[in-house]
């Protein structure tokens, strides 16, 4: 194979790669939708019957103007229904309300927000999700006691 043929083949391969990328990549808004379809796993929130009882963790339907509220309840050192998975897109306002039957300190990593919780006095986290990635929400009391500290995971996807 001559030098020109080699270069021709490489150029052709690069052209195919670029074309395939343009065709495959979902443009604009479509991008985010597709990403969330493929990565979002159904959490227990959506399958539970919505209830106003605060002991039940629930997620409201994602209506755009109204921020999604995730309720997390800790009873006897355990998260009711297991650690929560909170999905958001970059720029969303996220509200997480954590209640517990014992005093605790809840820490959202990355965003670095720490709030105290006491029985009857839930902690409300309200913030703009502007950092992408997966972040852990942890109980410092459980961590100090050598128990599993994970209370929930915040998953922020790009728009």
């Amino acid at each position: 194979m001559s030098r020109n043929q080699r270069i021709g083949l490489i150029v052709a391969a690069v052209a195919v790669a670029v074309l395939a990328f343009v065709i495959a990549s979902p443009g604009g808004d479509d991008d985010g939708d597709k990403a969330s379809q493929t990565t979002a796993t159904p959490s227990t929130d959506t399958t539970e019957t919505p209830s106003t009882d605060t002991t039940e963790r629930q997620t409201e339907a994602p209506a755009p103007p109204k921020p999604t509220v995730t309720r997390i309840d800790i009873r006897g050192g355990q998260v009711v229904g297991g650690p929560a998975e909170i999905h958001a897109k970059n720029g969303d306002t996220v509200v997480i309300v954590v209640s517990a039957d014992a005093p605790d300190d809840i820490h959202l990593h990355g965003y670095d927000i720490e709030k105290p919780v006491e029985p009857g006095k839930p902690a409300t986290f309200r913030f703009k999700a502007n950092l992408e990635g997966e972040f852990e929400l942890e109980s410092h009391v459980a961590e100090g006691a050598g128990r599993e500290p994970l209370v929930g995971t915040l998953i922020v996807e790009p728009r």
Binding site: A20, F21, G110, E132, L150
Partner: protein, 456 residues
């Protein structure tokens, strides 16, 4: 369930979306077949090429005073890590020791080695202490020290493979592996082993073959264009460093541990693992282990499985290449091609951990002011915070794919060049390459799958 694994997982990457995963996997195949057609017909990388840096800079960089300064910095950082680990606050992110060991030492030295050559050799605290002690002993006894024992040939790089496996166990499995005091104790224990090894077999021999981190970073530094020879820093042709790697026993095992442990770290976030691991943990628990130890045993089984899988897959390719003919034994072929796997190992590390380095690496800014996590502010930087907006999810995905594809291309070039040099018949060389190509496409696809949202 206890979550064990990365103690420093303050922020994790989002998985690569399926469309990008599919595109990248397709590109790997396209690249592979184009490579078969266009790569050079004569070996080009087998002969060492090296020119000293111009203007005597190379001689200055490799000089004794520079060596002593670098060694002293290495010893200081080592001492600080041990001190912070033993005396500092018992927190993973507020103590200097865990972040320095897992992020600066273990991760940042990888790109530094690839860019600037074997920098760890210069800063290696064990080597520096060993050389200082030997110098003092020589001066005191006014004569030559007794000659070291001969390093057994069969031992090869096995101690390094075992050492990296132990480090991976500490990082990914041991539930106290992110605790500052456990890390300090482990580092001291490892130091004791290293000093005994150096005393028995000689400092340089032990550092070159057995000291796990020297061997590990030296492998990556062979991808660099910078190389030090006879106390002089110079430049060589890209990719010409790896073919000079001596094939020693244990090298395949070391590469299998390197790729297998990163794979296992990726696998623990995936559906197939999450489906089977509770059952395995239950099995151990039914046999009397505590929940925590049952989980550690499960993870240990997974790590060993991942390493054996990687090794087995490589040997499969070697046996295939052997079937082409040419009269080479499988063992010979395994050793002739193992250097070509190093760029793939680099791609695994880079794609998996570069955001961890980028984000948690910033923690060093506040840790140098407050290494013990007890409120000191030596340099006035104790209040700095990690900027998590540095890189978004989209850019992260593209970098990950770029690392994986680039590693694949480098591996193909190295294997191709070695095949041309090894086989007298060019047709046999190409046929043997189909098998090595299969191995590399397999490793690369696995890397992409582990990073992707498929079965996440």
């Amino acid at each position: 369930m206890f979550l064990i694994g990365h103690g420093i997982s303050v922020r994790s990457d989002l998985p690569i979306p399926e469309w990008l995963f599919g595109w990248a996997a397709a590109m790997v195949l396209v690249v592979s077949f184009v490579a078969l057609a266009v790569l050079w017909p004569e070996p080009r990388l087998q002969k060492p090429t090296w020119r000293p840096l111009p203007g005597g800079i190379g001689r200055v960089l490799g000089s004794r005073p520079v060596e002593i300064i670098c060694g002293a910095i290495g010893i200081f950082l080592f001492g600080l890590t041990i001190y912070a680990g033993l005396r500092g606050t018992e927190s993973t992110t507020a103590n200097f020791a865990p972040i320095f060991i897992y992020v600066i030492f273990w991760l940042a030295l990888v790109p530094l080695s690839v860019l600037f050559g074997d920098v760890f050799r210069a800063f290696n605290p064990w080597r520096a202490i060993g050389r200082a002690v030997a110098w003092i002993a020589r001066t005191a006894s006014r004569g030559e020290l007794p000659a070291p024992l001969e390093y057994p040939a069969w031992l090869g790089r096995w101690p390094a493979a075992v050492g990296i496996f132990a480090f991976a166990t500490m990082e990914l499995i041991a539930s106290n592996g992110d605790k500052p005091d456990s890390l300090a104790v482990a580092a001291l224990a490892y130091s004791a082993v290293t000093f005994i090894g150096m005393a028995l077999y000689g400092i340089d021999r032990w550092i070159d073959r057995a000291e796990a981190f020297s061997v590990y970073f030296n492998l990556f530094s062979r991808l660099s264009v910078v190389e030090t020879r006879d106390r002089e820093v110079g430049l060589r042709k890209p990719l010409s460093g790896l073919p000079q790697l001596k094939s020693l026993p244990g090298t395949v095992a070391l590469l299998a541990v390197m790729i297998g442990s990163v794979s296992f770290d990726g696998l623990t976030g995936k559906q197939p693992w999450n489906n089977i691991s509770p059952d395995i943990a239950q099995f151990f628990q039914d046999r009397g282990l505590s929940p925590q130890h049952a989980l550690e045993a499960t993870f240990m089984l997974g790590l060993i499985g991942a390493v054996l899988f990687v090794a087995g897959f490589y040997w499969l390719g070697v046996l295939g290449a052997k079937s082409v003919g040419g009269g080479f034994s499988a063992r010979r072929l395994a050793h002739e091609f193992v250097h070509s796997i190093v760029p793939i190992a680099l791609a695994y590390v880079a794609a998996h951990y570069f955001t961890l380095l980028l984000f948690q690496g910033q923690a060093i800014a506040y840790l140098i002011s407050d290494p013990l996590g007890k409120g000191s502010d030596i340099f006035g930087t104790a209040d700095t915070q990690i900027d998590y907006t540095l890189i978004g999810a989209n850019a992260t995905w593209y970098w990950q794919v770029a690392f994986v594809v680039a590693g694949h291309v480098a591996a193909l070039m190295l294997a191709h060049d070695r095949a041309l040099a090894l086989y007298e018949d060019n047709r046999k060389a190409v046929r043997s390459q189909y098998w090595m190509l299969g191995v590399m496409v397999g490793f690369t696809s696995l890397a992409l799958w582990l990073l992707s949202s498929a079965n996440a």
